[in-house]
């Protein structure tokens, strides 16, 4: 007996495990790797299944007929039913819309960070805070920032560093014909493009030969190209940077900016790249900035060093080494360090918190909607006490009454939920069109909202339904 029952038990347990795996796989397929959501999905599913098993009579009125009855009861008070669903409708749509807007905003931020290169560590020269020791001066020279020495140190001694790119910024006007602008003029090396992941849109980027020849060539970002050459291709044309002519050899796609950032030309995405050696030749280390009332001389060897780590995992190591180096050699804190990966992680963390906050605010509105439904259902139960009495007298069992009112509540909340999903999918489109914000509707958002609204219906319908079912038929029949 036991010998034959054991394999059965084993098989049963294996079957259970396989079923569990299948359920997990199904939730993964539906909502992806979101633990909260998968947990919720399984919970709602289990609740629905349990309710069905507990309440659905194997015999007696079918669920479909109960559903039809519920709908016809609701249709008896169309306005009331509609108003009742509004709470859930707006709750659901705000969950979806908020998640979509939050997702869009964070995606935008993350993309900007990703453009800096997630394997990179960026060192920048920062002008140290002025103290008043020097007093009033019309002309003075400030010397600060990263040096060639730093560059060599990073390149030659740091482990896990593959490429190191120096950048010098030149403050000078760029013109072509009568058009002039003040983009960032960056003197750099050919590796710059690969390390920062920029994309050539026309022509080519700087090459080693340009550096060797100290050639007067330049590469424009699209923004500069479009401004200086609105009607023609800039390739092969000459532009004037400061006092010298440079031949345009290529253009780069501009960095993506937030669509609603209506910054004028000259902002940080307007860039002109020239060979490092050429910059050195024409400008040296000394730069003159003309400020209101004073001329300011700055001596900066390098404005930026982009350090590329071999792998993403090495970034913290490289960042720590850079931090150490800056602390030792730049005691006056004339440098800063940007680690895009850290920013990215922080942005993702922010996004997570943002989602939780937005999600819970929206969920509260769903909760309020659910309470609204419960309130109306309680009133309905009282109002229909007599009907309950009649049905009980004519043979309805308690579970039939529970099912009847539960189905009505669920129809209300799921109806509201479906309308809410529709509205929630439209709102992001409207926001995108009017506010020029990016929105992303992840498939899990409508699903989440819908599941919550259905769950709200079941949870908030249980009490009114139970109250209806536990009425004494005699009392209920006597009710006026």
């Amino acid at each position: 007996m036991s010998a034959s029952s054991r394999p059965d038990g084993l098989r049963f347990r294996q079957g259970l495990l396989i079923a569990g795996e299948l359920v997990l796989a199904a939730t993964y397929w539906l909502v992806g790797d979101n633990v909260l959501l998968r947990f919720l999905l399984i919970g709602v599913g289990a609740l629905a299944a349990a309710l069905y098993l507990a309440l659905a009579p194997g015999r007696g009125p079918s669920l479909l007929r109960t559903f039809r009855l519920g709908v016809s009861s609701l249709m008896l008070h169309k306005l009331r039913s509609l108003l009742t669903t509004l709470g859930v409708l707006f709750g659901t749509s705000s969950v979806i819309a908020m998640l979509a807007i939050g997702e869009g905003a964070s995606e935008e931020a993350q993309e900007q960070i990703r453009q800096l290169g997630s394997r990179n560590v960026i060192l920048r020269s920062v002008k140290p805070r002025e103290d008043f020791a020097t007093g009033q001066q019309a002309v003075r020279v400030v010397s600060y920032g990263l040096t060639e020495e730093d560059l060599a140190r990073v390149r030659d001694t740091f482990p896990a560093v593959t490429r190191v790119v120096p950048v010098r910024e030149i403050f000078d006007e760029v013109r072509h014909g009568s058009r002039a602008m003040n983009p960032r003029v960056l003197a750099t090396v050919p590796m710059y493009r690969e390390v920062t992941g920029r994309v050539v849109s026309e022509g080519r980027f700087l090459a080693d030969a340009d550096l060797e020849n100290t050639a007067n060539v330049c590469v424009l970002s699209d923004e500069v190209a479009n401004y200086l050459f609105p009607f023609s291709s800039p390739l092969g044309e000459q532009i004037k940077v400061g006092g010298d002519y440079f031949t345009v050899i290529g253009t780069l796609l501009s960095r993506v900016r937030p669509a609603n950032d209506a910054a004028p030309a000259g902002s940080s995405t307007a860039e002109v790249f020239i060979p490092m050696a050429t910059g050195q030749k024409w400008y040296g280390d000394m730069q003159v900035k003309i400020r209101a009332g004073s001329r300011e001389m700055e001596e900066v060897e390098l404005h930026e060093i982009v350090v590329e780590a071999a792998r993403m995992e090495d970034v913290p190591l490289v960042a720590a080494a850079c931090r150490e180096m800056l602390a030792r050699n730049h005691a006056q804190s004339d440098c800063e360090m940007v680690v895009p990966l850290e920013l990215l992680l922080r942005a993702q963390e922010t996004k997570r918190i943002f989602n939780i906050v937005l999600g819970s605010i929206a969920s509260i509105s769903l909760l309020v909607g659910g309470i609204g439904i419960m309130n109306v259902m309680l009133a309905t139960v009282t109002e229909r006490t007599r009907e309950i009495g009649i049905r009980r007298a004519l043979g309805a069992k308690r579970r039939h009454i529970v099912m009847q009112f539960l189905v009505e509540t669920v129809v209300l909340s799921v109806g509201g939920g479906l309308l809410g999903v529709a509205l929630g999918l439209v709102i992001p489109l409207v926001v995108e069109a009017t506010a020029h914000m990016r929105t992303i509707v992840t498939p899990s958002a409508p699903l989440l909202a819908f599941l919550i609204s259905a769950g709200v219906g079941v949870v908030f319908g249980l009490y009114p339904a139970a109250r209806a079912a536990t009425m004494d038929p005699v009392e209920a029949l006597r009710h006026e």
Binding site: G60, L69, R386, E387, R392, A396, K397
Partner: protein
């Protein structure tokens, strides 16, 4: 088929020393006090008495809507004391037909759906119930109004629907509570004629009323007073032919 002797019919509903006590605060009201009685198959009883005599309580007990505090009640041989709430519901849906004073139709359902409500809740729906329901509607004169809502019908018509509803599950016992109380005298006569017809078919009817002329139409009269039987007036009319159709199995 049993013999058609009018005396010893098997009882449909049998009450034995049934007591039902209501607690009104500190007071104790014995609505039924050790009442024993049995209603035989095919009989048409009027239960009469002044208000507070216990006739409503008796009706609730007969209808399995309530259970006695002591004593036993058997319907069609089944003792209700041991039945769960669900089982009582099942008894109501299989064996009982109710006709109420205020018709008690369900407003969101049309005539046909209202007639079919008892079938709706049967664990095993009676086969061919819908055709039967249509026949019943035809018979009570509402065959052309199957899709009307109760609020579109007159009181008499609503009560006819209620009677059809009380018949749809082919009950062993039909209970009527002041079934003519809300109707004008002409309509009341029509409804009573309908009950006479049902009686003539051999159905068992218990009609609760306080109107003497309604009570007089019944075959037998049971008078209650303060939870006791005051008088039993049997067989003032000759029993109509029975036995041709056994109630509860009419097809």
């Amino acid at each position: 088929m049993t013999s058609s002797s009018s005396e010893a019919r098997p009882p449909v509903a049998e009450l034995e020393r049934v007591t039902r006590v209501y607690h009104m605060g500190a007071n104790e009201v014995r609505a039924l006090d050790e009442l024993s009685f049995s209603f035989g198959q095919g009989e048409y009883w009027a239960v009469m008495g002044s208000s507070g005599s216990g006739k409503s309580t008796l009706l609730n007990l007969l209808g399995c809507l309530d259970r006695p505090d002591s004593g036993s009640y058997r319907i069609d041989g089944t003792d209700v004391k041991d039945l769960s709430d669900d089982q009582l519901s099942e008894v109501r849906s299989q064996k009982l037909g109710f006709v109420f004073q205020s018709y008690n139709l369900i407003p969101q359902l049309n005539v046909l759906e209202n007639i079919l409500v008892p079938i709706f809740y049967q664990d095993v729906p009676t086969p061919g119930a819908e055709a039967y329901a249509r026949g019943l509607a035809e018979r009570v004169g509402l065959g052309r109004r199957l899709d009307h809502r109760p609020q579109e019908l007159s009181g008499g018509q609503q009560q006819r629907v209620a009677i059809a509803r009380a018949l749809v599950n082919r009950p062993t016992l039909i209970l009527a509570d002041e079934a003519t109380g809300n109707l004008d005298s002409q309509t009341a006569l029509e409804i009573l004629a309908l009950f006479d017809e049902l009686h003539a078919e051999g159905r068992t009817i218990v009609l609760v009323t306080h109107e003497p002329d309604v009570g007089e139409r019944a075959q037998h009269v049971l008078r209650l007073k303060d939870g006791h039987i005051e008088s039993v007036e049997r067989g003032r009319q000759a029993a109509p032919p029975t036995g041709l159709l056994r109630p509860g199995r009419i097809t």
